[in-house]
Symmetry: C2
Subunit: 211 residues, 2 copies
């Protein structure tokens, strides 16, 4: 998106009244839920109108085209995922903390009966090749996630709890790949075995660098 | 699918003439390509007709509903992916072989400019929660892939090249999760760093069990 347009959007957002903000938030939440269930291309603007109980002109007031709505959904889902994991993500600086995070992720999939996979991963799989703006937004979301993991590992490294030759950047990215693959295969197999196998192997790998 | 229907389908397939088989194969290849590019819900039966240059009644002759076509596409894509990797998959019984496989996978993504991710993974992300028959077929595809990896690791284990406490089943599944997550994040980031980080970490983990 061009810088001008971004600025314009931000202005528009600031200009919204409290009620306007609530309506916009309701539209995004409805769109996010539908796109999570049916995918982006399986969700029409009309579906979102019905789900959010807004008129076509109301929806158009906030989002001029589906593409804008999709971007808002990506930002929303990234926030949802990272906020839900926040208590863990801000302190991934010990093997115990990494294991607690792993347990919480596995537990969530059990509660969800292995439905849904990763809300950001699903959007990424559908949009990365066909929607360049969405891809940029998705990459930014994943990089935030990666950054949180990296922060914890860098802290361990700086404290001398990981060997000097350990590379927190690579380890953080590797852990995020195991998490994403684990969530996808857990969604396919409908059991948490892949998620556990992926995360446990990656934590064992990180563990080999501890002092 | 009920057993009767499966038997009936198999019968129908056997009954096809050479030309009929070619037409059926052309329809599946066209559908696979479109679904790879646009997703399943972004691909209509009409799109497939146009791409495969067949009439509506011809397409209906082979596939009574889109669901049947989707199943055929899953089987086709699984064969494509596993056949392309076959020279590696049948001999993943040494660290060198695992590394050569890793290099080939990374090289393929470079050649594809990090487009497409995993054709089976993309279908899995879209269909696993909403299409139970498709999910079963996708899980079967992934399990074949997992089995090939496991066979190599079990051979190493049986030969005493992996420590007794190594668990080839878990390691194979962990490696497949790193591969899937690596392909997805490579598609999002449009660089092979995630794929390399995921696979290299997992191979290093497997390496810790070598004797």
């Amino acid at each position: 998106m061009a810088m001008e347009k971004q600025v314009e959007n931000k202005k528009n957002e600031r200009r919204l009244t409290k009620k306007g903000k609530e309506t916009r938030a309701r539209i995004i939440a409805a769109a996010a839920q539908l796109m999570f269930e049916r995918g982006v291309s399986g969700t029409s603007v009309e579906d979102v109108q019905n789900e959010a109980k807004v008129s076509a002109s109301q929806l158009y007031h906030y989002f001029k085209e589906k593409r804008e709505l999709v971007k808002a959904v990506i930002v929303y889902q990234t926030e949802q995922v990272l906020n839900a994991q926040e208590p863990f993500l801000s302190h991934l600086d010990s093997m115990e903390a990494l294991k607690s995070w792993r347990d919480a992720i596995v537990q969530l999939q059990i509660e969800r009966q292995c439905q849904g996979g990763c809300p950001i991963g699903s959007l990424a799989s559908e949009l990365s090749d066909t929607e360049p703006e969405a891809r940029t937004e998705l990459a930014a979301g994943f990089m935030k996630w990666e950054q949180s993991i990296r922060n914890g590992l860098q802290t361990m490294h700086a404290r001398g709890e990981l060997q000097a030759e350990a590379k927190p950047d690579d380890l953080a990215l590797a852990l995020l790949t195991a998490l994403q693959g684990g969530l996808l295969l857990t969604q396919v197999y409908k059991e948490t075995r892949p998620l556990k196998a992926g995360l446990d192997a990656m934590l064992a790998h990180i563990g080999t660098f501890t002092i």
